[in-house]
Every structure is written in structure tokens, then in C-alpha cells.
């Protein structure tokens, strides 16, 4: 939109508005209410509901304000008898075939049709004919469907198409018999449920929440998702100490993701109240013995004594500390403080398999926000698969290309789904990402890279050309495939591509909700990695304090390592491979039961808010560690206040300086950490390292030719999704049950065995 201002007159008042502004937005912005159903600012125009009618002088008929671009001197009327009659008429039409049994509809109370009818509809019900009937059904384990309630605004088909690129749900039939659905009525997609979110009526519904509560009985808590590093804002709806659903409806929350969530964010929450949560502290008094419930005092005392004893006997460095990148910044900070100031060990790390240390050391430009990505004109993506691992980023890339005409340069060893949007796709051999990174920095490496990556001689040049040919900021993203040295080079790409008016922005793609925070809180400062700690377990490391659990990929090849320790303490929600060897098990509270912050892959520091009281005897991780510290003789002095912890963080971590909880309270205006940007640096050492690495790559080898199916990563069963029956159905290939009239969950009863047999 240009900055030039033009004059429009609305209801007799003059306004200056940017040239090219959309009339409906302008009217609403100026305080003139305009009803609409199909208009959705982040989707292609539809203009089908005909609710947003206005009168524009010199135009013959009423006009849909959603399709009108303001022109200079335009004279608009938004309220008149004629317009009100039309709006009443449209509402009446929409209600004609719509069941008027709002009390039994899950959407009742937050239904846009209901609200529009109150605000704009007539009083009289003139439709006395028989309504068209369609049976209720399930479209998938996640999506329930009541076709009768549909007003055909097609927001659902548009989000599926434009946001997700899946085109899984479409309109079939014609005229009054149009229904939203799929071929054979089964929804084969990533199950993001965004169609549910944008549905203004009770047509598409959360199948996991059917008939549970009325929306107004839910307490809404705005918080940050605890799955991937995108950090979507969501509203947890809770009642009676139980989290019932998670939504991103703009009436409750309005964060970086708008109304977008992925399958995990939307449907992954049932782990919170799951029966398998660890309920009390437990102590294994004897190796090989049983874990026996204990009081917090006993447990804390026991841990303090044993850690003291090990440190005494084997030295401080014999105690290892490991924190999960899922914990809050507060927990990670307290853990770091505990580690460095109290225990004094050099053996600490996080259970993230993707360290961003060298990237941040060489950071040559700012971090891109998700908004920057949505409106970017050039995107370079090296490795990764955001559609599966950082779904919001995937959506932003797709929309940048589809709705914004951006150029996507894709470098990947797998023909991931985003290649559909790519202008240039370098389909490289596995593990040759470094080669391309090297060549992007250093033209001289073009042919070496081409040879190792198995792409055309001029492929890197073509990618470079595509970047040069496009305009605007360049957003560079990369996945965990890049080695540390290659990350450093990428971080310095601004040297090569930033010119006047053209910034290079970065968007690393780590895997966890607080991978960034784990880095920022210093938990990645030590030179040790999780695998190294496991290697040393039982040798130089005798005791281990783990907040969270090791990843399966860490434990692979180190199966017995944990049981070789003299003493293992684990804070967890659930029993895992790691807890199996624990000598003390401490019940941690989930993100829904505590206050705190997560830092997402934009560097945005976002609030986590307590939605329900901590379950059973669990406590937030940082509280547990503070109590342990106190027992060991050091009072951190937070007085059970997460905001006090955060204040300390803001004082200690320069990128967070000046931040306070009150400043972070508005999820619509998130605050980005101020990471230090280093100027162009001499990269010869890093280049040499990477070149050596690249030269060592084979000159031939097979490429991955198959596009991974939707859900390859999203539907993988992890500790948390394991607790959600529906995920097991998805992981088993989302089989279509015998009838779609009943939830598949009740038809395929032995969910676990379904998972095991497939």
C-alpha cells in the first residue's frame, strides 16, 4: 500500500486514507461497523456472503465494500434503510436453511452467525419451509462436521488452500446443495484444524472437544504454544482445573500466528491433564529398587545430600546438568544459575540437537519476524522442512509466494512440499547443505558445490541470480543440517547480499519451543554436548541433574549410560526412557500450570501464562531448582514469583535488557530480543573448515526422490503426543473408520495397538 493519502467521505465525514486501502477495512477502522462473513483479510477475496454492502455515489447498485479499493473523492454511505434491509435480507437467507438450535451447537456463544443475526438480522422469522438436511459426520479424528450449519463463506477451503497448500477440503455440489467436504468424506491432510478455527458457524468443529462445555464456561488464558520454535499464541480454554481446548480465535487471542495453529498446537494439549502425569516426588533408595513416593521435603533433602556427596568425592565437574529446550526461560535461567554459581560444574548443556551458538556469534543481520516472512519478497531456505517442523513458518513462506509473489530459493536434499512454491529448487544430495552455503558465500566454490551436491554446474549461480532479480529484504532460513562452521558463514551472508535498501534477515529453524531461550539463558555456553555427557556417564560424570529428558536420538547407542551413574535426578511430566533410570523423580508442572516466557525463532520473548493450578504435587521447574538451591545453602530470593526471575534475566542477558512482564503482556505487539549484530568479519578460518568438510563429501550418491507424506514429522509420536489418542490414529495412517457418523476414536478402540500394528 502506498503512503499517498486520498480523501474519502463516509457517512458525511471526510477522512484521509492511504491510496489503495480496502473500503471495508477503512470503514471499520473509522468506527463504522460493517458486517461480513466471507471477508478475511489474509485470504483471497471471495465476495460471496453479500453482507458488507454499502452505497457508493455514482455506482448503480449497492457495492460489496470488501472488494472496493478506495479512490480519491469516493462518497460512501454505510448506513441507510436500503442497506439495512439488504443486510437483514442476507442474514435471513443465511438462516433459512440453518438449524436454529444454537443451544445444542458447540459454537453457540462464539458463533459469528449468531452475533450477526443479533446485530443485523430481522426480528421476524419468515422462513417456514422445510430445511435442507445433511447428517452430522466426522471428517477425521480431529474434525467434526455439521454440514447443515454451513453458510458457504469458504474460509475453510481458502485457508486449506492458501495457508496450508493442501487443498484437502473443498466445496462439492452446486447451488443450494453445495457442501464443504472431501472425496469420499475423509480428510487426508495435516489436520491443522485451521478450517475449524476460521469457521464462523458450527459447521466445522473440534472433534476432540465435542459436547464438552459451552464456550462461555471456559476460562481463556492467552499463552504460548509449547511444541515447536514458531511460538504461536493461543488461548487455552480451561474449566474445573482441566484444559479442554486450545484455540487461536481472534476473539480471544491475536498473536503472530493470527488464527493459525498446527495439529500439535491445536490438538496436542490433552497431555496436560493426562492420567499418566507423575504425581508426587519419588525416591529410589537403592539401585535396582523401586521408586517410592516421598514428600517434597524428603526428596529435596535427599537430592541435596547426594549431590553434595558426589561433588565432595569426585569434584564439581563430576556433576552434570542438563536442561530441556522445552523449559521456560525462567527455568533455564535458574538452572544455569544453579549450575554455574552453586554446583560450579563445566558439564552442562541442553537436550537440543541443534546448537545455534556459532550462528549467534557471527550474526550479521537482524532476525526476521513471521510478519517479515509473510511480506518478504525473497526467501532462501537451506535444509529443514518448515511445513512439518515449524508449520507457521511454512505457512508464511507459502503465503509470501502465493499471495505476495515472493521468490523462494529452496536448497534441500528432500523434495519437500514447499518445492511447490519454489522458484529455484536445488535438489541436493543428502548432507551437502554445507556445500551450497559455502558457495553462496564464496563464488569460487560454485563448481565444487555443484559437484558435491549433485546439481548442475550453474545451479548456485542461478540461485544467486534469482536472489539478485528479486526485490526487498532477503530472508535466510536454515535447518539443523548445517554444521556449526557453515552456520557461521550463513550468519555472515549480509556481507554478500545486503545492499542499500535491502537487508538480509535471518530465521533459523530449531526444533523446540524454547531452543532460543536455552541458548540465551546460557545453557549452551559450555563446550559439552548431550552426547558427550552421556559418553562420560559413569566415568568422569557420576551424578546428573536432568530437567526434562534426553531425546531418543541422544540415547541411541548410549542405552545403558544412565544406569551407570551414581545418582540421577530427573524433573519430568511423564515417565520416559530417562526417568526409568532416575534415583529421584520430581513431578514438574506443564507450561499450562505456570507463568514464564518462551523465546521463539523470531527472537520474540512471549509470555506463558498459568491456565490451571499445578496438577497433583507438581511444581514449576524453576521453583523446584530454587528450593534445591536453598537446601544447598543458596537463597535465590525469588519468593515464588516468576516475574522476579524474569527481572533477573533482563539484567543478566543483554538481549533482554529492559524487558519486564508488563511490557510483554500484549501478544499483538511482541517484543524482540536485541541480539548483538556483528559487522562483516573475516571468515577465512570458518571457510577453510567448511571447505575441508565439503571436499571430504563423496562425489556421487543417491538423492531422495520422494516427497515425504503430509504428517511425516507432525504425526510422529513423542512423549506428549503419545498421550493423545487421536495422534495414534494419525500416526497409523489416519484410517477411515467404518462409519463417519461416530468419532473414529470410539470405533478404533485399542488405539495403542493400532499404532503398534502399523
Amino acid at each position: 500500500m502506498s503512503t499517498e493519502l486520498i480523501k474519502v467521505t463516509i457517512n458525511g465525514k471526510d477522512f484521509e486514507v492511504p491510496k489503495g486501502a480496502r473500503l471495508i477495512d477503512v470503514c471499520r477502522d473509522k468506527g463504522f461497523d460493517i458486517p461480513s462473513f466471507c471477508y478475511y483479510s489474509d485470504l483471497a477475496l471471495q465476495a460471496s456472503c453479500r453482507m458488507c454492502l454499502v452505497r457508493i455515489e455514482k455506482m448503480p447498485k449497492l457495492q460489496t465494500s470488501c472488494t472496493i479499493t478506495c479512490t480519491d473523492g469516493m462518497i460512501v454511505t454505510t448506513q441507510s434503510e436500503e442497506i439495512e434491509k439488504a443486510q437483514r435480507g442476507m442474514t435471513e437467507f443465511l438462516l433459512a436453511n440453518h438449524p436454529l438450535d444454537c443451544p445444542v451447537c458447540d459454537r453457540g456463544g462464539e458463533c459469528e452467525l449468531q452475533e450477526m443475526t443479533f446485530d443485523w438480522g430481522g426480528l421476524e422469522e419468515r422462513f417456514t419451509e422445510k430445511k435442507n438436511y445433511y447428517a452430522e459426520r466426522y471428517l477425521s479424528p480431529m474434525v467434526a462436521n455439521d454440514p447443515q450449519r454451513c453458510i458457504l463463506c469458504k474460509r475453510c477451503t481458502r485457508v486449506c488452500d492458501e495457508w496450508m497448500g493442501e487443498e484437502a477440503i473443498e466445496a462439492g455440489g452446486r447451488g443450494a446443495h453445495t457442501v464443504i467436504g472431501t472425496y469420499l468424506g475423509w480428510l487426508d491432510c495435516s489436520q491443522c484444524g485451521n478450517c475449524i478455527e476460521v469457521c464462523p458457524t458450527g459447521t466445522l468443529l473440534d472433534a476432540t472437544y465435542r459436547h464438552q462445555t459451552r464456550p462461555w464456561e471456559l476460562a481463556q488464558t492467552i499463552t504460548t504454544c509449547n511444541f515447536c520454535s514458531d511460538g504461536c499464541q493461543m488461548s487455552l480454554g480451561s474449566r474445573g482445573g482441566e484444559v479442554r481446548r486450545s484455540v487461536a480465535r481472534d476473539r480471544y487471542v491475536n498473536g503472530i500466528n493470527g488464527e493459525f495453529l498446527c495439529v500439535k498446537g491445536r490438538f496436542g494439549h490433552p497431555f496436560i491433564n493426562h492420567d499418566a502425569r507423575i504425581r508426587t516426588p519419588m525416591i529410589r533408595y537403592k539401585k535396582g529398587g523401586k521408586l517410592i513416593p516421598a514428600t517434597w521435603d524428603e526428596a529435596i533433602r535427599h537430592v541435596a545430600e547426594r549431590l553434595d556427596a558426589v561433588a565432595e568425592e569426585h569434584g564439581r565437574n563430576s556433576v552434570g546438568v542438563v536442561g530441556s529446550p522445552r523449559l521456560t526461560n525462567e527455568a533455564l535461567h535458574v538452572l544455569h544459575k544453579f549450575t554455574t554459581e552453586l554446583v560450579g560444574t563445566e558439564n552442562y548443556t541442553t537436550t537440543d540437537a541443534f546448537s545455534l551458538k556459532t550462528f549467534f556469534q557471527h550474526l550479521g543481520g537482524s532476525l526476521a519476524t513471521h510478519r517479515d516472512i509473510r511480506y518478504a519478497k525473497t526467501i532462501v531456505l537451506i535444509g529443514g522442512d518448515p511445513s512439518e517442523l515449524q508449520p507457521l513458518t511454512g505457512k508464511q513462506i507459502r503465503q509470501a509466494v502465493r499471495n505476495g509473489g515472493a521468490t523462494l530459493v529452496l536448497v534441500n536434499s528432500v523434495p519437500i512440499r514447499l518445492r511447490e512454491q519454489a522458484k529455484v529448487f536445488l535438489h541436493i544430495r543428502p548432507k551437502s547443505e554445507d556445500a551450497i552455503a559455502l558457495a553462496l558465500f564464496d563464488v569460487a566454490a560454485d563448481s565444487l558445490a555443484a559437484q558435491k551436491a549433485g546439481v548442475e554446474e550453474n545451479a548456485v549461480a542461478a540461485a544467486r541470480q534469482a536472489i539478485a532479480d528479486s526485490t526487498g529484504d532477503v530472508v535466510v532460513m536454515f535447518g539443523r543440517e548445517l554444521t556449526d562452521a557453515a552456520q557461521a558463514i550463513v550468519a555472515q551472508l549480509p556481507q554478500k547480499f545486503a545492499v542499500q535498501e535491502r537487508r538480509v534477515l535471518f530465521h533459523p529453524l530449531p526444533l523446540f519451543n524454547n531452543s532460543f531461550g536455552a541458548h540465551d539463558m546460557g545453557m549452551m555456553d559450555a563446550p559439552t554436548s548431550a552426547r558427550e555427557i552421556l559418553n562420560a556417564a559413569g566415568d568422569s560424570i557420576r551424578a546428573l541433574y536432568v530437567a526434562g529428558s534426553f531425546l531418543p536420538e541422544h540415547l541411541e547407542g548410549h542405552e545403558g549410560a544412565l544406569s551407570k551413574l551414581d545418582f540421577l535426578v530427573v524433573q519430568e511430566l511423564f515417565e520416559t526412557e530417562t526417568t526409568a533410570a532416575a534415583d529421584v523423580l520430581l513431578p514438574a508442572a506443564s507450561y499450562a500450570e505456570q507463568d514464564g516466557t518462551f523465546t521463539n525463532n523470531d527472537g520474540l520473548v512471549q509470555r506463558v501464562r498459568q491456565s490451571i493450578p499445578a496438577l497433583h504435587q507438581s511444581k514449576p521447574d524453576w521453583v523446584i531448582i530454587s528450593q534445591l538451591a536453598k537446601e544447598l545453602g543458596m537463597d535465590f530470593g525469588y519468593e515464588l514469583s516468576a516475574s522476579a526471575v524474569f527481572r533477573e534475566i533482563s539484567e543478566k542477558v543483554p538481549a533482554y535488557s529492559g524487558m519486564r512482564y508488563p511490557l510483554l503482556k500484549d501478544e499483538t505487539n511482541p517484543i524482540q530480543a536485541k541480539y548483538e549484530v556483528v559487522g562483516p568479519s573475516n571468515m577465512s578460518a570458518e571457510l577453510a573448515t567448511v571447505r575441508e568438510c565439503v571436499e571430504g563429501l563423496p562425489n556421487n550418491g543417491d538423492k531422495v526422490m520422494v516427497t515425504p507424506e503430509v504428517g511425516t514429522e507432525l504425526f510422529k509420536i513423542g512423549t506428549l503426543t503419545d498421550k493423545v489418542g487421536q495422534f495414534h490414529l494419525l500416526a497409523s495412517g489416519n484410517p477411515r473408520p467404518e462409519t463417519t457418523a461416530i468419532s473414529p476414536l470410539y470405533q478404533i478402540t485399542s488405539v495403542k495397538s493400532v499404532a503398534e500394528t502399523v
Partner: protein, 427 residues
């Protein structure tokens, strides 16, 4: 079935009665492909457009938009390919003229498309034919093959550097695909929903490229316009409605058929009573829908003794419009309530379902009609139907909504007795 010209020399119908009229040979021996030759022999694209402008040719598909003007909207400097699309979807109830033009004189259409292609610098044309007219697609395919073999379609037409390929395309049963933007959606392989205008197809049409959509009869008029000159063609008709027009006549007349009349033919009553052989079985005229189902229905007394002039302006003055020229004649036995119900069912069946008023409005109206038919009529139903029509008219996404409401509005107003007796029945 009668196919003939009245009040003028047959122009569009010149060859329809010739033996083997659909062959290239017969077409050529009767003046065919002379116009494209004339065009390629020295007319510029702008010359062609100017002739068409001078002819006052107005689109014969129903909207009556001046064809020359439509052609001049196509941006000359656009780097995109340009498309000429022939609208042969002919699904308007009561309309069947395009069918006979294509069946009997397919080369005339090809020639018209070539000239349009030349004028618009387009290298590709599509003939979108309704799926039910499969036999016409076969006829067009044969004709195109003949023309291709004779160097009249394809590369370097008639040895010049003008190239234009023409393809047939099939619809599959959807009236809405006659609406030009829905037709383009359908041609792109999508559901046949209309699209937002602007952008108009002339700027962003098929595959988002500049596109001109014209009715069969519009395009088949073009060769004659070129041959006789725009002015001469215009003079066949009136100042604002140039040339001749085909009328598809059906219903209760002795000689239904396709009639070519000069625009401004002076008497509608004579047309029915004499030219079309008069009323079937000598019954009395009750009503006429003159322009395909999507126009106002006329009472006999709006026609008899009224000297209704048959052109765009004349019909509007008489209380209806030319539309597609589908002339449906109804005698005294017809119950206008029933005929209106019949048409409303048509519109309900054909509503694409995109927009609220048309989708829900037609569904509702059909339900009201059915209820009344089954004896459940209420005195307020007439008002209800008029109000529903008012809520559709002018509010729908495309003109189908308007088209659905006009027959009802005019029927209730002009034939209140046929409605009233049903509404009172239950009182």
C-alpha cells in the same frame, strides 16, 4: 422447425439450407473465408475493430454490450498471450439459435473467430460448447480439421504471418458457465463460479491473460461486417442496434423456429401472428417472454396493437428486453404461476451456489412455490416472494440472481390473477 429470414435478406442464415452447408467447400463457394482474406490483405487490427465499432454490433449473448468497444479494451501492450473465447454454452431457456448456426454453418464461426483473433493479436481461440451439444463439438472438430488442412487455421494462415489455432472445449451441464467469467473458470478446469469484475476478462481473463468472450452469433456476424463494411451492416438495423438478429421462437405458435429479423423489426404482434404462423390451435395469446427466460414476461395486451419494435430500445420501452432472443410464446391455457415456478426451479437448479442471495433465495422461492402449489398458499406469499426477489436483485454476485428474480417480479405484477387464486384458495 423453421429457419428463415423475415424482413431482410438472410445474412446469418444465408447458407443454412444449402446441401452440405457445413462443408468448407460449400462455405467457400458461397462467400466464405473472403472476409478473413480481406482482413489479411491489408487491414490493420485497428481497422477491423473500427469496422466492428461502426457496425453497432451488440453482443448477442444476452447482455448486448457493444462488441467493438469490448474488443478495444484489450490492452495492446500486454506481454501475455491473448485469447478469443467463443461462448457456445447456449443454455438460456428458450434459446437455440447458436445450435443451428454451428450445426449448419460451422465455418462461419471459425472465420469470425479468426478475424477476432487477428484484431486482438490472439493466437489461440477456444469454443466453449455446452456438454449436451456434443454432436456440435464433433461438427466443429471436423470443420476445424478441414480448415486446418486448407491452411485457414493454424500457422501462417493463407500464407501470411498470421497464426491462430482454434480448439473446441466441452462444458458439462451448468447454465452458469454461460456467464463469461464462470465460463473462464470452467475452461481453466475449476468449478464454474463467476469471478469478480474488475478485473474484466479483457484485461485478466483466461489464465489471467487478456481475453475476449463473445457469443456465437456475435462472432458469426463479423465476417459479414468486414465484407459489407460496418456502416452497411449497421444500416440493416437501427442506429443503436445494428444489423440483424436471430430469434429462437418456441411455445404455442404454429411455426416455432429460428428467425432472422432486421434489428428494429417493426411489429412484434405481426411477428407472432403472421411470421411464426400464428397461435397454435387458434388459441388466444396470453404471454410472451421475448428474450430467454431471464427477462420480464409480457402480457398479451403489452403486445397486441402496440407496435412493439423488436430491438434493444424497443423492447425495453415495451417493458422487457432482447436478452438472448429466446422468444417463448404462451397461450391462454398456460398458468403463469406454474410457468414461473418452472423457471424458478430452473434458476435454483442452475445457481452456482457461490453467493448467499441467489443460492438461498432461489431455494427458498422454490419451496414457497411448491407449498402454494400443494394448496398451502397464504395471502402474504405474493408480498414475501416480491420481497425475496428484491433481496436477491442487485445484491447477487453475478447477474444470475437478477435473472432469477425478474421473471417472478414481472409475473406477480403482470399476472396477479394467476397467483391470487392460489393464495386465496386456503383462506
Amino acid at each position: 422447425m423453421h429457419i428463415k429470414a423475415i424482413g431482410c435478406e438472410p445474412l446469418q442464415l444465408r447458407r443454412v439450407h444449402l446441401e452440405r452447408s457445413r462443408t468448407l467447400d460449400v462455405y467457400r463457394r458461397n462467400g466464405g473465408y473472403e472476409a478473413i482474406k480481406k482482413v489479411l490483405d491489408g487491414m490493420s487490427p485497428d481497422d477491423v475493430i473500427n469496422e466492428v465499432k461502426k457496425s453497432s454490433l451488440r453482443g448477442r449473448g444476452g447482455a448486448g454490450f457493444p462488441t467493438g468497444m469490448k474488443w478495444s479494451f484489450v490492452p495492446k501492450d500486454s506481454p501475455k498471450p491473448k485469447y478469443v473465447v467463443c461462448n457456445a454454452d447456449e443454455s438460456e431457456p428458450g434459446t437455440f439459435k447458436d445450435r443451428y448456426l454451428m450445426e449448419r454453418d460451422p465455418h462461419m464461426l471459425i472465420e469470425g473467430m479468426l478475424i477476432a483473433g487477428y484484431a486482438l493479436n490472439s493466437k489461440t481461440g477456444y469454443i466453449y460448447t455446452r456438454g449436451e451439444y456434443k454432436y456440435l463439438i464433433d461438427i466443429m472438430d471436423v470443420a476445424l480439421e478441414e480448415a486446418r488442412a486448407a491452411g485457414l487455421v493454424g500457422n501462417n494462415i493463407l500464407g501470411t504471418n498470421f497464426s491462430c489455432e482454434i480448439h473446441t472445449h466441452t462444458g458439462a451441464g451448468a447454465y452458469i458457465c454461460g456467464e463469461e467469467t464462470a465460463l473462464l473458470s470452467s475452461l481453466e478446469g475449476l468449478r464454474g463460479h463467476p469471478r469478480m469484475k474488475p478485473p474484466f476478462p479483457a484485461v485478466s481473463g483466461l489464465y489471467a491473460a487478456p481475453t475476449v468472450v463473445n457469443n456465437v452469433e456475435t462472432l458469426t456476424a463479423v465476417p459479414d461486417i468486414i465484407k459489407m463494411g460496418g456502416e452497411a451492416y449497421q444500416k440493416l438495423g437501427t442506429e443503436k442496434s445494428g444489423g440483424t438478429k436471430l430469434w429462437s421462437v418456441s411455445g404455442h405458435v404454429n411455426s416455432p423456429g429460428v428467425y432472422e429479423l432486421p434489428m428494429g423489426y417493426d411489429d412484434m404482434e405481426k411477428f407472432i401472428m403472421v411470421d411464426c404462423g400464428g397461435m397454435l390451435n387458434g388459441k388466444k395469446l396470453k404471454a410472451v417472454i421475448p428474450g430467454g427466460s431471464s427477462v420480464y414476461i409480457m402480457r398479451a395486451d403489452q403486445i397486441i396493437g402496440k407496435d412493439v419494435r423488436m430491438d434493444y430500445e424497443g423492447l425495453v420501452a415495451a417493458g422487457s428486453s432482447v436478452g438472448s432472443g429466446g422468444f417463448i410464446v404462451m397461450d391462454e391455457t398456460v398458468d403463469i404461476f406454474e410457468s414461473t415456478k418452472n423457471l424458478t426451479e430452473f434458476y435454483k437448479h442452475e445457481s452456482c451456489g457461490w453467493c448467499t442471495p441467489c443460492r438461498e433465495g432461489t431455494d427458498w422461492l422454490v419451496k414457497v412455490f411448491k407449498r402454494i402449489e400443494n394448496g398451502g398458499g397464504r395471502i402474504e406469499d405474493a408480498q414475501l416472494m416480491l420481497d425475496l426477489c428484491d433481496n436477491i436483485e442487485g445484491k447477487s454476485f453475478c447477474p444470475l440472481g437478477d435473472a432469477a428474480s425478474w421473471p417472478i417480479q414481472s409475473a406477480i405484477k403482470r399476472f396477479p390473477e394467476d397467483f391470487k387464486k392460489r393464495l386465496l384458495a386456503t383462506d
